[in-house]
Symmetry: D2
Subunit: 338 residues, 4 copies
């Protein structure tokens, strides 16, 4: 950590700071500058996280040298983590396709959609039963009934499934039905939920929040890993920017950055990211080319009748076309479609 | 609602759409343009919220004429709502000051801070016991023990208190201790929590999320009101932008916009908004001048020892100076400091 | 255009508005709603651009149905425009690679860099001689001397070159030296410069501004086309967002949106977009996969000695690796590397 | 400057870096950490601006300790700069009101508007004659004819005037007519224009760009001061964010930050900032309360007939009301309305 002192900081204050650092077992080095004095701290500065140097009236800024997260860092675990989701390996050299509707609406809808995407090459299923919606007057999901449908279709179609959890009390229900957890963008900073999924072993697909930096996402994952669950898949799904032509701004820059900083698999959700059906495929291909470990795509057997997100859901035929376009791109970057 | 059809939409499709609208009890009017046809819908278009016109392949865009929220709208209730928080009236012509530390740390810290801010003119107390932090290695709050301290100090100092709730299971505990609810920025879209506080009568201070538009905030409040709890206080606390000199960008533009759109009280948290101690007071004054119904300010009896947010917490002396500067501004805009 | 009137607008005002619309040769249709009245305007509403409906005190909002631009629109010219840049065809089914240093620094630097990128597959050269820098103390470019070097190397290496113009008076000099124009992000809304390049026939590479929406970029291009110069190439190069891990947020979402809205070629500058050398290649591949018509990449024969943007410039060896990775991706999306 | 080396950087490379720093007359201090080595640089690191440490392959990051600007910094000139604009003192303890229409449209419009705002308390006039517009089909200003009108009305009404300049060639014309310069948000990074106004003595009102950080604005001002013109007034006018209820997000946070960092006067343009007429007054009051040195407000004698920005222009009566509301707020913060 590099601590820049304000001009005119007294010797007493400086000595106090130095003592504080030494008390944590680290080594402070005093650098007297022409306009500012600086204290450089040698040792693992994460020991200083409980001290708020920035709240000190004589400190201008305190810049960490190391990242604030540890367990998710590739410096700690250099190799790619591969996560087993019901027998499907996510990460490594694989490229995985997760597909399905935004919301579980009926057994027929799920079966028709799942069969179609399975046939086209998707290996994992998605389907929400607990839906966080902007408006209280919009469809909020089928709840526990939907969970039963999802589970049945998942088994019948041999497609392990992800479904969003919104609260700690949802976890048991979802695990009982054999589904994996998804934590949505709105709950990425819900630390209770992060801690709770951390205490289980079920895989977690963690979506980036709309105002979350890449470091925020990694810290959210750190919440899960530090509780003991290593099975975290990160998901870029678009951030909030001034651009209004697209629903969000899918931030593909996050792919190479995340792949460098962490050993966890990184997938991309182009459906929410760009939010308009006819632009989903180009963003899916771009995600693969940028080095993502997979994509999550919204597909509905009849998008115009979808109870949510129909404007960004692909028709099964469009999904077939997406998969056809995707295969050569995945091959071009030396990955294997699982 | 104004539905713009794509060029070349067939007569059959158009007829189908018209029938769908009529089936909801609304009146469609067909407008044949030179380049686009448009269907204008007459009647309360919120009846159409369950239909995803935007997911229709032949619809270019569907623009609502009315707001998506109802109960929070000033069109429905033109008069200002005044909310009773433990005997302190928030809203109307009053200007209220809520102050206290980011986190409850000890009985001594709370007592010293509360007494100081009470003396200086604050009427309501704040203090977090359940802390959502970016890093799992940072201080997470004293939990239930902190709640006991907050409650005791609140009674002893005659200052009704707000404390953040993070999960449905926190609500009973907080109500038993007599505190009011605060929903933080990270949980603004936690619809479970919104619905649960909506089913109680305890006042709720609802903070705007870092990526939430003004309409998103109003919809979050609508979640609470539509369950039956009218006691919602909105709080602007800064949004995420590209500017890095300040912690967030406190969006004071939201004050006049919210005061026009809704009858609910609107307060401002300049401490989180700008995030640097010495800039808090100017933003507090600006909030008052912009028409806010109050402010929420972080004050700590010894900011440099604070376990969280010390860099933005005022020392009691600084809070006294803030209050001294605030009084004439509040008077200048014709408001009364409660 | 859909004009929503405020509740309580008088009949006289409404009649006046209707008369104003009719005076422009368009047909107003009055729709009486339950809560709001609406005037729908039939005909080419762009005739109404000189009227500021939104400034009218009785109008709540005025939403256009058509786009504000015409000549750049794919609705007007459905086929892809192909632009001849010194014999190299940009657009259509081609995928073009523009490469070179941020700044022209010397004949040796330019020759070495140009020869290397030419050999690796780049067809067009870039090199700035007039440099807009954030700090007045940073290197501002070699100016007219640099232009001579660029021109000579361009001829010797048979690589037509782009160079940034910052002012109308630069245009003659640049044309005399045979280079094509680049308008940088900082000047995208410099309407004088847009108009001036519009009055010539030299190709213009127009970069998106850091706060420019996709529609803003199209309107800037419209400035050029409406003066008579059809040779405009659009360039996405990153927008300003809250994310700080990357220099800007390269917005690849803009690719499918622009390719749908306009017939002009669209290229991507991953170097400025992500701003860190080791992340440039993944973004270049993603740009190709998303449907871009080419990329513009910063390459320097010795990045650590570069006078500007060295942190994002590729070494020639890294550029060779980029091209090797790019070829199969370009082929995978059915494009041809020119 | 604090230079963090990548793990594994060789001793040779480290020595080379140390030699480079010494060659610039600064003192490098080597700090060997447990996970990273760091070189701290002692002395005025601005001497290192020509070296791109960040482009070095072995450097992880290079963080400056000092600000990149000098002449605009309050550390260099601690006292507030007061600027004489045609006899009106801007800065210091004064609070100045600049008012007038977006565009000069006619002698009658200017006279009527100027007389009204002068009567109500404005001391300086604004009026654009060269208008940068998003669309080429929108009104582009009266040009040189407008300049004549502005100059005449400015003299007749004894109100020194500001008008926007877009190109170096505009400067002589504007100076001949006795007006002060305004550089608009779109041209804030137009370094040619900045340098050219820096070589004159006419006051410059410099608006913050829509994607410009506070440091970017200060660097733009540094361009002007370092050429010799000290008469720069900074103007906050709104930045681009995801919020769409307001035209821009007026960033009042910038006021206390700028007032701390620089000695230059800082004014606020609430009209462009929030962009909706009925929300201008609250933001004007908030600007005064936040510590601004003045405001610039759009007023038009008949906003509904305005050729530009009518939706955000105040009617003279509304401006009278604004001034009436403003006086007590200005007094409350201890400032004097000039």
């Amino acid at each position: 950590m590099i601590i820049v002192l304000k001009p005119g900081t007294s010797i007493e204050t400086t000595k106090e700071l130095i003592a504080t650092i030494e008390a944590k077992g680290l080594k402070p080095v005093m650098l007297e500058g022409t306009q500012r004095n600086v204290i450089a701290v040698i040792g693992d500065e994460r020991a200083l996280q409980s001290i708020n140097f920035e709240s000190h009236p004589d400190i201008e800024k305190a810049t960490p040298v190391l990242t604030p997260y540890k367990l998710v860092s590739r410096e700690i675990y250099p190799a790619n983590t591969v996560i087993d989701v019901g027998g499907v390996a996510v990460g490594g050299n694989n490229f995985v396709v997760i597909a399905g509707p935004c919301s579980v609406e009926s057994y027929a809808q799920m079966t028709e959609t799942a069969a179609a995407v399975r046939e086209a090459g998707a290996r994992l299923l998605r389907g929400g039963v607990f839906k966080p919606r902007s408006s209280p007057y919009a469809f909020q999901g089928l709840g526990v009934d939907g969970l039963g449908i999802l589970s049945q279709v998942s088994r019948e179609q041999s497609m392990p499934a992800f479904t969003e959890v919104m609260e700690v009390k949802d976890l048991d229900m979802v695990e009982e039905q054999g589904a994996a957890f998804q934590i949505g963008a709105r709950n990425m900073k819900n630390t209770r939920l992060l801690t709770a999924v951390g205490q289980r072993k079920t895989p977690v697909l963690l979506k980036r929040g709309m105002a979350a930096t890449i470091d925020d996402l990694l810290l959210a994952a750190e919440y899960i890993l530090c509780e003991g669950n290593p099975n975290v898949i990160l998901c870029e799904r678009g951030i909030s920017t001034f651009e209004t032509s697209t629903r969000n701004t899918l931030d593909l820059n996050a792919i190479p950055v995340l792949k460098e900083k962490t050993h966890l698999p990184v997938i991309v959700d182009p459906s929410h990211g760009i939010g308009v059906r006819r632009w989903v495929t180009p963003m899916a291909l771009a995600a693969a080319a940028a080095g993502a470990d997979g994509i999550m795509v919204e597909v509905h057997n009849s998008p115009k009748d979808a109870l949510s997100d129909g404007h960004q859901s692909l028709h099964p035929d469009e999904f077939v076309a997406l998969m056809k376009a995707l295969r050569p791109v995945v091959a071009a970057v030396g990955r294997e479609l699982v």
